[in-house]
Point group: C2
Chain length 349, copies 2
């Protein structure tokens, strides 16, 4: 996805609020029967029949969660939705509807919002999800996107953060640290460009980590694979602020500890490559533990499901659940135990 | 509700994100059986059984929707929730859960957020609603609160904006223009205070309009009254941006027109009093049509329900539905027809 050059610039104020919302949402068609009443109403009415409804929210703030100088607007729209969907996915449910609230300054043109909604449209199509509500308001500065994602699942399959038991296997989807590695590259190229505006950013060989940062995907494939293989995790959480934070979160809610084996943590070659680029002080495992923004899943399963799970190429068994008094630790290849710690207030990730 | 003087100031950054969220949400207990999984998870799981789920969102941005110089934080928390609940109520459903996402700058202390959440707690208790999710992130400047309200109702009772038929009666709850009148008073006193900091703001005799602006209530009483009296509106909408905008919205979605009788529009004495204060150019009916922020309901019912509805002291019959080609008009006491127009992009209201 690339932003196309807009030749026409329409000020947001030149359209009425409803006309703007109608323009931005006109290509969105209802795809799910459960979207009983959608965009044209004050709220959305959903019919999830016997299933439970799962609702997750995510908020993205310009200057905190994204830098518009290197974030194509289509990607931004895509990512805002992906992050909210990830909350629903982390409950072992599939997203079916999204509702978008935006606060936008007059610095943005209608055409810019068109781009943003092209990204939203794209992810809705890809994940068969309906835009069931859209509200837009002003902001003093910049852009804030708040998304509510709604899904449903049989109540016996919905998985919370509490429920992990001692001896359960700890599993993870995807790889860790790569989104943060992508951010490092973007920030470096931006700084170089600032110093020398004639400088041409060089993103060669970093495509994977850049995509991980700019355009994350909700792991609905994992939810489907678990259902197809009749596995219900005992506990599950979204990995948004690093693997360490996610493990602590799951352990705290489940009143247990965990052991994660360093060599089992999936780290992509591209992440290691970025670390090499940046010098010897930056370790790939640090990015995995604390980098954040991976948008992956961490979950525990019963030992009985081991044979099934080891066949899934997209899931790694990274450790196991222990008694609470053991704490949450990472074991190095040299068999040293390191207490996992969550970064304090750093919500920019 | 008044903000108490905080003697202790704790920087948000001194707590971890999870510790902050836990502190702010510790007094919230689950009150609804339908809140199957709540705060401690990535998303909320809700069990609305056979009923449909209704989801509404509202976003409030500092400097646009509220001015912290005259908005007590408890009221702000209360109002943010009330506005999102109003979206659910406008579908003829009762709110059961809310999810709060906030972006907050370091200018706010933990104690300030305590105040905000005291207001959120208060409205949750008042309307038997559960806080089912809470996420907090940073902002570059100021405070943005995004709230998702979730409710449920039998699908035969859920009412959208489309569905009004010719000859239906057009009904409204509460009164119009008073919230905007409250805002005018607050802005006037603020301007006077700026010019002379020794000036003591004078709010005497304006209590009602101030409360209407600072602390609106979702009209769950109307939803309950309609259910008790076995009335299902044919169409319904939230009045957020003035009566004219709401009427146009309902008519456009229902493909109809309407006639509203000026003398039937409920206007409180306090609103007229403010208009008198501000001079002869300001007409109470203009505030009612275009003022906004009333947080009331506009809805259409079948003529057959006339006998029932006329007995409800909180509902006024303001007009009736016409053919689409008649347009949406207001008829003055002099029998002049005035086309209703919605204010263009002015989302600060």
């Amino acid at each position: 996805m690339t932003d196309k050059q807009n030749t026409k610039i329409t000020e947001i104020g030149s359209l009425g609020k409803q006309a703007l919302i109608q323009r931005l949402t006109q290509n969105f068609e209802t795809r799910n029967q459960s979207t009983a009443k959608g965009l044209e109403n004050d709220a959305a009415a959903l019919d999830h029949s016997q299933a439970q409804t799962v609702v997750g929210t995510a908020i993205m703030v310009e200057g905190i969660h994204f830098d518009i100088t290197y974030t194509p607007l289509q990607h931004l729209g895509y990512k805002a939705i992906a992050l909210s969907m990830a909350k629903v996915v982390a409950m072992n449910a599939l997203p079916k509807q999204i509702m978008v609230s935006m606060a936008v300054s007059s610095r943005y043109s209608v055409e810019a919002l068109d781009e943003l909604f092209a990204g939203i449209h794209r992810i809705c199509l890809r994940y068969d999800t309906d835009l069931a509500g859209c509200d837009i308001t002003s902001s003093m500065s910049g852009l804030t996107i708040s998304v509510t994602a709604i899904g449903s699942a049989d109540k016996n399959r919905i998985t919370g953060r509490g429920g992990a038991q001692v001896y359960d296997l700890l599993c993870a989807s995807g790889d860790f640290g790569s989104a943060y590695a992508g951010l490092l590259i973007l920030e470096r190229e931006k700084a170089t460009f600032k110093a020398n505006p004639n400088f041409q950013p060089d993103f060669a060989s970093h495509e994977y980590v850049l995509e991980r940062f700019l355009k994350p995907e909700p792991r609905t494939d994992i939810v489907k694979w678990l259902a197809d293989n009749d596995i219900v995790p005992t506990a599950m959480t979204n990995v948004a602020d690093g693997l360490a934070d996610a493990a602590l979160h799951l352990c705290n809610t489940s009143h247990c500890g965990c052991e994660i084996y360093e060599e089992r943590i999936p780290i992509d070659y591209g992440t290691s490559h970025v670390c090499t680029d940046f010098g010897t002080n930056m370790l790939p495992v640090s990015l995995a533990l604390n980098g954040g923004m991976d948008n992956e899943l961490l979950f525990s399963i019963k030992q009985d499901d081991y044979e099934k799970i080891k066949s899934c190429p997209n899931i790694a068994i990274v450790g196991h659940i222990t008694e609470q008094n053991r704490g949450a630790i990472m074991v190095t290849p040299q068999n040293t135990a390191i207490q996992l710690t969550s970064q304090s207030w750093n919500p920019s990730k």
